[in-house]
Every structure is written in structure tokens, then in C-alpha cells.
Symmetry: C2
Subunit: 333 residues, 2 copies
Amino acid sequence: MKKLINNPQDVVRESLEGLALAHPDLVRVSFNPVYVVRRDAPVRGKVGVVSGGGSGHEPMHGGYVGRGMLDAAVPGAVFTSPTPDQIEAATRDADGGAGVLHIIKNYTGDILNFEMAAELCQMQGIDTEAVVINDDVAVENSLYTAGRRGVGATVLAEKICGAAAERGMPLKELAALCRRVNENSRSMGMALTSCTVPAAGKPTFTLGDDEMEMGIGIHGEPGRERMPVEGAREIVARMTEAILADLRLPSGHSAIAVVNGLGGTPLLELYLLYRELQRLLEARGVVIARRLVGNYITSLEMAGCSITLLHADEEALDLWDDPVVTPGLRWGA
Amino acid sequence: MKKLINNPQDVVRESLEGLALAHPDLVRVSFNPVYVVRRDAPVRGKVGVVSGGGSGHEPMHGGYVGRGMLDAAVPGAVFTSPTPDQIEAATRDADGGAGVLHIIKNYTGDILNFEMAAELCQMQGIDTEAVVINDDVAVENSLYTAGRRGVGATVLAEKICGAAAERGMPLKELAALCRRVNENSRSMGMALTSCTVPAAGKPTFTLGDDEMEMGIGIHGEPGRERMPVEGAREIVARMTEAILADLRLPSGHSAIAVVNGLGGTPLLELYLLYRELQRLLEARGVVIARRLVGNYITSLEMAGCSITLLHADEEALDLWDDPVVTPGLRWGA
């Protein structure tokens, strides 16, 4: 294993120290227990938006803390759920008196620990709501999951609900909005190479020189099919058809699209994939009204990509355009 | 070779088509000849700022086109200089009547072709100035270079001169500012793995499982030394000492720092490297007043990093803070 680190056990802590040093205008980092929080948290009267999960899905979640997105993020060890005490402390710090929304990717450990933390918070009088994101159409159940995995829709939910919270939307309404974003989103990913978890020291899996894994999970867990590598056009078609088989997105309607790199894929390839996606959707009469092209939910240095589509209504588009000021996503201010 | 592409010959064109589709609010792309230009170019009365070079150093240069940075960017094939006719056409399109600044990385082909284009433009009555960036302290001459290579300082020069041009700085003054940014900047890079140029189809070089290349060039050209991999702290110290041996950066002074990924290195590692850099500079009394941590000038999917330091005066810091609205760098608007 070759990595630019000191000691595998210290990677997440030392990296978060770097995040805090690099963005003192945007975030604070607590180290005991570990979480990232908006510089100006708690924001009085605003619903707090909190997410979290294993580290290594970058810039998620710490990179999405800031005005217009998350109030706090709870990073676990690499590819490992955060603990209830972390989530509890982050939730308390994010609570401005109007309650806190937990946005949780559908992984069994994450859900259990967020539930436990929510109970602890409720005993302290903090109102919480939880929404589980499960947008990945690749597999019905997986290594770490009962039901579909939560992937790229998490980024969309964090952005859109972050904007709505900033506008003053109350907790119950915000949770309903988050559920709608999840219900209207689907994703599918694929990989050309594995990544290497620092503490493991060796690649999570191996793929042949001419193989790809279609439907890969963001921890490298198996997908639908291991198959010979195809061209970008065929790969995009395969992923998009899988998504559209499960998401009603009629001609004339609008989508927010994410063409996401898994960490080791150049922008040259991601923009090329975006071209294929837009052409394919245009041929079906679907308009990509907004989009992200880049690394938004990675799997460390894995080569590969995922596509997320949100069937977007006017409310989602309007909230999407609101300002966001975080280390990983920034516009409008 | 496994890449998310259709045909190796079409990679740059198809990727630029994707860039144009993804950012219609920011840029236009010309395809005959190929260049990227600000949506609203030419801006009347403003000096145009134009850069260019081989593709694959992402998001440079096309990703830096927009308000507050470049008026136009001229991408060559992957790791290959753009041609004079491309540069000429981009310069004409970027000229708002106040002349055009060419920011050129020090590679022999780039310099020759920018010179030829400048002559053609001058014959048409367009005033041009050229500044060559040569900030890489790793080697004195290299495979594609007479003198030091131009790397990370290019990003700083494009941002700072883009801001100054936006404020209305005239051409001669802008060229002098660009030379000062270059003179006050130094960089050094290192790699853990090679990248693969699509048209070549195989890795540019090979490194052993426990080896790194210290002083690597952004095309994978050899550096100072091939050596056993060290820890992040030692690697940062090695690069920073090489920079500081050549850049006067006294205690009490300020720097703008770039901790740059070469494409295949996770943010987890880049933020960890930033922590090491800030601690090291703090111990010498140097303040990092502004910074970038992420992929700003890559070598496709190479694993590795570079550090750039600019000894920054008040003018540089003030221009740095101006708004920038490009696909690859965005704040303040």
C-alpha cells in the first residue's frame, strides 16, 4: 500500500485537523468526540441538518458543512459508521432550538447508531427526524445493507434540505421534503479498479485488466455483474437504463443529474460521460436542468463513476439555486 | 488500459463537448479550432487573460474560464501543446480592445506556439504580452523544458491576474503583476504511481510497490530521485525544504499555499498533507494566509501531490479574495 499518510490509525483525525486548519472561516472540528460543525452553529431558530457515515466518500460529509447545506457532519473511521456518542454531540451542537434532521445513508450500522443517538437527544428535549436515503438501484440487498444502498441522492438531499432549512422550513416539513428528494432520486455506479482502505493495507477486491464491476457499492461491495469493459457510451446507457427502469421521468420533465467520480477518474472522463448522459436523456425528451460533474461521493481513489438522477419539480430547482458555502460545494455567495 | 472513454482520439473533443453542455452559463466552446471562452467574451475595455497547454492537468485550463479568471483557454491533446491557430483564434475572441495577456507554462512547445500566435495577433493589431511560468524547483532542465517547468504557480497567476484584469488593470501593468506572482512562487511535486495517456494506452512509467518519484513533472517526466516511500510528514518536509531553499519567505510573512492532488489521491490524504505543511510553516513563523487543498493541476489519474507557495503581499491577497466564477474555482458570487 502506498498512501500519503503518517500512520493508518491517525488518518481520519489528522485529515480533519487539516480540514479545520484549511477552512477556519467555514467550519469547526470537535475531536472528542469527532464531528465537523458550521463555524456559526447553532443557528438560532433554524432546523439543524446533520449527516454522517464512514469517511472516504469525499468530500462527503465534512466537506458539505456550511451555510446552505449541513450544520454538522459525523465522520466515522474509513468506511465505518460513526458512533452514537459522536452523532449525539453533533446533533446537540447543531440544534438551534428548532430540532434537527438526520440524513442517513442506508447502511445498517449508520441507521442503528443514528437511532440510538436520536433517542439520547430526545431525552434531552431535542426534537429529531430521520430520513434514510436508499437510491442505489444496483442491488436489492447488499453486504452492509438491508434494502437498497444510499449513495448520490445524499448529496442532493443535503443541498436541497440545507437550502430549505436556511429559508426557515420547520422540521416536519423538512423531513417530508427530504423523503420526496429520496423518492424521486435513483443512482447506479460502476468501477474499473478497487480502492485500498488504509487500515486494511490491501485492495478491497481485484478486477482483471479488461473487467469492470457494474453496480458497485461505494465501499467496493459487489454489484450486479462483473463484465468486460465497454465504451463510455455503452456504460452510460447501461447505468441510465437501470435508473430509468425504476424512476418515472417522462418526456418534457426535468432532472438534476450528478455524474460522480469515485476518486480515481479524471475530469476528462467525467465530462465525457456527462456528454453521453445528456445526449441520451435529450433523446428521451428529458431536460437536465441542473447538474454536478466531478467527485461528490467517492470511494477513496477508486476508478469508476456513478450517475444520480433526481426527477426535479420547481421547488427542488429553486432550492438548488440557493447559495451554498461549504469546502466542497460553493456558489451564490 | 481501462478508461471511461469511447475512442482515444476523441477524448478531448468529447470531454469539451461535455464541459460546454454542463456549464452553458459560464463558457462557450469553439471546436474549429478548439478553445474554451467566457460566455460573455470579449469583455469591452478589459484586458483578456488567456492560457493553455496540454489537456490532462485538471481542471486547468478550461475549468478556469469565467469571470475573475481566464477569458479563454486553449487545450491541446492530452499532454500536448495547443497549435498556433488555436491560440490565435482564442486570443482574438478574448480581445476586448485592451490587449491580451498570455500566461504560458514553461514547456518548449507551448512557448513556441504561443509566440507564433502572438505574432499573428499583433499583425492584426491585437496587443499581446506573454509571461512564462517556471516555478518548479525540482529540476533545472527537463524532458520538455529548457529551464524550470511551470506548474502550480500557473493557477495562482491565473486567479490573481484574472482578478486584476477584472478590476481594469492595463496590459503592461498586468504582465508585470504576473511576472511578480511567478517570481514569488515555487513548487515541488512527487508521485506514487504513473498515469496512462489514453492515446498511449499504457502507463508513462513504472514505480515499484514501495517507491516514489520525488520531483516528478506533471507529464510524468523524471524528477530528482526515485526513493522508498516515506510518511506524509517526511514527504511534506522534503518538498517544502526544497521550495524554501529557493524562495525567500521570512518569519512573519504570509503565503498563499496550494496542496494539490495529481488526480488519484483522495482528499483525506490532501488535507492530511495540508496539516503537515501548515505545522511546518508555523514553526518557521510563516502564516498561510490563503490556501487551496484539492485537485487544481493534475496529471490525469496519477497518485501524488505537489505543493506551491507564493510569498504574498497585500495586493496579491486582496486580488485573491475577489470573486471568481468558473467551473473549477468559485467563490464570492
